[in-house]
């Protein structure tokens, strides 16, 4: 009663009808255990007493005037929604979705999927809100579809069930895992406490029995305790790590399955070109009075500076171009290049431009 009170305030018009059985007119005020039932055949509500009274002896017609549908007791149930229109629509939707249970991945394009959804929705609308003719037409379509695609519907149903099942299993496993972790943690804390206790007891005993330096003994005992606890921590970390690789404790639902990417090779800035020097090999270390400081100084090393880089660069520069004979190579270039060398007339003709040498064309700045 109290539960219904606020509802009656929010919706006063439906209030008196909510509490009175339309068949026997018994009132909730007089009978607090009054319970209303409906039958999805016609969605007329009546109290459980009426249902018992009318339908116990077998199927009978609905007692509501002008309805006259034959109802069975088995069909009666409690309404989930107060508004019976909603109740009815939900039932219809359930029925339709059992038949039209296609999944998005069965469609080739998003547009097709959306068209299908729209079709289903208009069917549902016809069933819920349509006129009698529309309703029968929709029912007809529903039946036709069910007959036509019986196997596929069954298949999809199975898949859906499996999915739900899998979801449930995963949830259960997660809960189990969490519980196990909690337990392990608690056990660990217990163990640590016990260890500390034991250590303290040992220490006291030793202090009582030996005549050594009290301070030294205390310090040693402390060290032992620390060592133990750190060892335990290491073990638990290892366990966690191994667990993590097998079945990570935290799973995030709804992730797409990932294909393991092909392992990338380390990036080669030279694009596969081999730049191993031919004329020298860089040694591990060179004696050089100038570099003596740099070798030892942490200020050089801290920034990631490597003397190897310096060695490689100096050695490279010492031999880079040793076999390049400019006199020959450039002379070749001159012959191949444009023939404008020394054509002063051309330079004069081009006005403000000096045109000299191979591609040496310079505009006058000022």
């Amino acid at each position: 009663m109290y539960r219904n009170a606020p509802k009656s305030v929010s919706d006063p018009s439906s209030n008196p009808l909510d509490d009175i059985c339309p068949v026997c007119k018994s009132n909730r005020y007089l009978n607090p255990s009054l319970q209303f039932l409906i039958n999805p055949e016609c969605y007329h509500k009546m109290c459980s007493t009426c249902v018992d009274r009318i339908f116990t002896s077998g199927p009978s017609s609905c007692p509501v005037p002008h309805c006259g549908r034959t109802l069975r007791k088995k069909g009666f149930r409690k309404a989930f929604f107060t508004d019976l229109h909603v109740e009815r629509e939900v039932d219809i939707r359930k029925r339709v979705s059992e038949v039209f249970n296609r999944r998005q991945d069965e469609f080739e394009t998003l547009l097709d999927w959306n068209n299908y959804l729209e079709e289903v929705e208009s069917l549902v609308f016809d069933l819920v809100e349509g006129s009698a003719a529309e309703k029968t037409r929709a029912e007809e379509r529903l039946r036709e579809y069910r007959d036509a695609y019986r196997e596929e519907i069954e298949g999809n149903k199975r898949v859906g069930k499996e999915e739900v099942e899998g979801e449930r299993r995963r949830e259960r496993a997660e809960k189990e895992g969490a519980r196990a972790r909690r337990l392990a943690m608690a056990r660990e804390v217990e163990e640590e406490k016990a260890d500390v206790e034991k250590g303290k007891r040992d220490l006291l005993e030793r202090l009582a029995n030996s005549d050594g330096n009290a301070n030294a003994i205390t310090r040693q005992a402390q060290k032992v305790i620390l060592k133990k606890s750190s060892a335990r921590r290491n073990i638990t970390e290892e366990v966690l790590a191994s667990n993590g690789s097998a079945n990570s404790g935290l799973t995030i639902r709804g992730l797409k399955k990932k294909v393991a990417p092909v392992e990338e090779k380390p990036y080669d800035p030279f694009g596969g070109v081999n730049i191993t020097p031919a004329r020298f090999t860089v040694q591990e270390s060179y004696d050089n009075e100038w570099l003596g400081n740099a070798k030892k100084d942490t200020r050089h090393m801290a920034g990631g500076y490597s003397l190897q880089e310096y060695y490689a660069r100096t050695m490279f520069e010492a031999f880079s171009g040793l076999g390049v004979f400019i006199e020959e190579e450039v002379a070749d270039r001159g012959q191949k290049g444009d023939p404008s060398i020394g054509t002063a007339a051309a330079a004069e003709a081009s006005g403000g431009k000096i045109n000299i040498g191979h591609k040496m064309e310079i505009d006058d700045v000022f």
């Binding site: 596969g272 730049i275 060179y286 050089n288 010492a318 171009g321 004979f325 002379a331 000096i354 040498g357």
Partner: protein, 376 residues
């Protein structure tokens, strides 16, 4: 992809120093001759123009001659212009390179900066003439540029202050000019680090750290040290003041300087690097020939030699001669730069005005039923 091997030489061939700034002696001379001839022609033309303008002003016909050139007009000497020859220009450039080194010493910049600045000047005066652009102002710009490219920060105002009678604008005026003269390549490959590398390995050989070398000389360690010092002197002066950078690679220049310092040592070293074989013997013979030539060139300007009095006198005369044959239109770079900038400003104004007109037009058409015409 099969990994292709790229030798040290191939990698040097990718540098701008090889691609743009390497010449044979003949082609270099040819370039300089052409530059000199063009510059001389222009100087004569410019002088003629200035004289005509002056004649016009003195007769009172055009009271407002170009105001910017008034200074230049006064600087024009009388009589026939006596232009510098190629050799004279080259001497002057070398002289100003020396001055750059001294200026670098005065400003206490590292060797790299000085060397780069000198190479900039040398490169610039291949395609430009002293008669057109005064090396005295340009060397400051070159040195300032070198501080930037060699990563030795120097604030412009401080830089200008440290040099007597120099304003920051003066240094900046020829900035683009120099950049263009360098063909926008600022990378200069020096042999200094190469020398360190070679000496490092020689020292390792002396200490018996490298396994591949068989025989070694007596007192090798000491000899390497001496050779190092001497070669460095050559690289710091001779290599910069001569044309070796244009004709040889840094590695060869370095080897040549070491060759001057200690022939026996370097012969042994190169022998170990290029062991006598069928393929190597050709290269090694050619290499020794090239190194000898390079060494000869380096020795032509010995680092110990100071300029003799006769040379100084000659240079003084050349400087005087240069003053007389300067291109009068290019003397005042600062005001030229300013004029150019203002000229650009005018252009901008015109563009702005045009845009504004276009905007107004399209706004007017915007009221039409079908909107404005579509811009291409």
């Amino acid at each position: 992809m099969a990994p292709s091997s790229v030798s040290e030489d191939e990698r040097y061939r990718t540098s701008t120093q090889y691609r743009l700034w390497s010449f044979t002696p003949t082609s270099l001379l040819e370039l300089r001759t052409t530059t000199n001839r063009n510059a001389a022609n222009r100087v004569r033309d410019a002088v003629r123009r200035v004289r005509e303008a002056r004649a016009a002003t003195s007769s009172g016909n055009t009271s407002e001659a170009d105001g910017g050139n008034s200074r230049a007009v006064s600087a024009v000497p009388e009589g026939e212009v006596d232009c510098l020859s190629v050799e004279e220009e080259l001497k002057l450039v070398t002289h100003f390179c020396r001055q750059t080194l001294q200026l670098g010493d005065h400003l206490q910049v590292p060797t790299d900066v000085k060397a780069t600045a000198v190479q900039y000047i040398k490169r610039f005066y291949i395609t430009n003439s002293c008669m057109t652009y005064d090396p005295k102002t340009l060397l400051k710009t070159a040195l300032f540029f070198a501080t930037k490219t060699e990563n030795h920060y120097f604030r412009l105002t401080k830089f200008a202050e440290a040099i007597t009678a120099t304003k920051p604008e003066e240094i900046l005026a020829s900035e683009f000019l120099l950049t263009q003269g360098l063909r926008f390549t600022f990378d200069v490959r020096h042999p200094f680090r190469a020398l360190e590398g070679a000496v490092m390995e020689l020292q390792a050989m002396a200490n018996g750290q490298t396994p591949s070398v068989g025989d070694k000389l007596r007192g090798m360690s000491r000899r390497v040290k001496e050779a190092h010092g001497k070669a460095r002197e050559y690289l710091k002066t001779s290599a910069l003041l001569t044309d070796v950078y244009f004709h040889y690679t840094p590695s060869q220049i370095m080897m040549a300087s070491l060759l001057i310092a200690d022939r026996q040592l370097i012969s042994l070293y190169l022998g170990s690097k290029l062991p006598p074989g069928s393929a190597n013997s050709a290269i090694s013979a050619k290499l020794m020939e090239a190194l000898d030539k390079c060494a000869e060139m380096l020795q032509s300007m010995d680092p110990g030699n100071e300029q003799s009095i006769a040379e100084k006198k000659e240079l003084g005369a050349l400087a005087k001669k240069l003053r007389k044959c300067r291109n009068p239109e290019k003397i005042d770079l600062v005001s030229l730069q300013r004029a150019k900038r203002e000229g650009d400003g005018e252009d901008d104004e015109r563009v702005v005005k045009k845009r504004k007109l276009e905007r107004e037009q399209s706004a007017k058409e915007g009221h039409d039923l079908f909107g404005p015409t579509i811009q291409k």
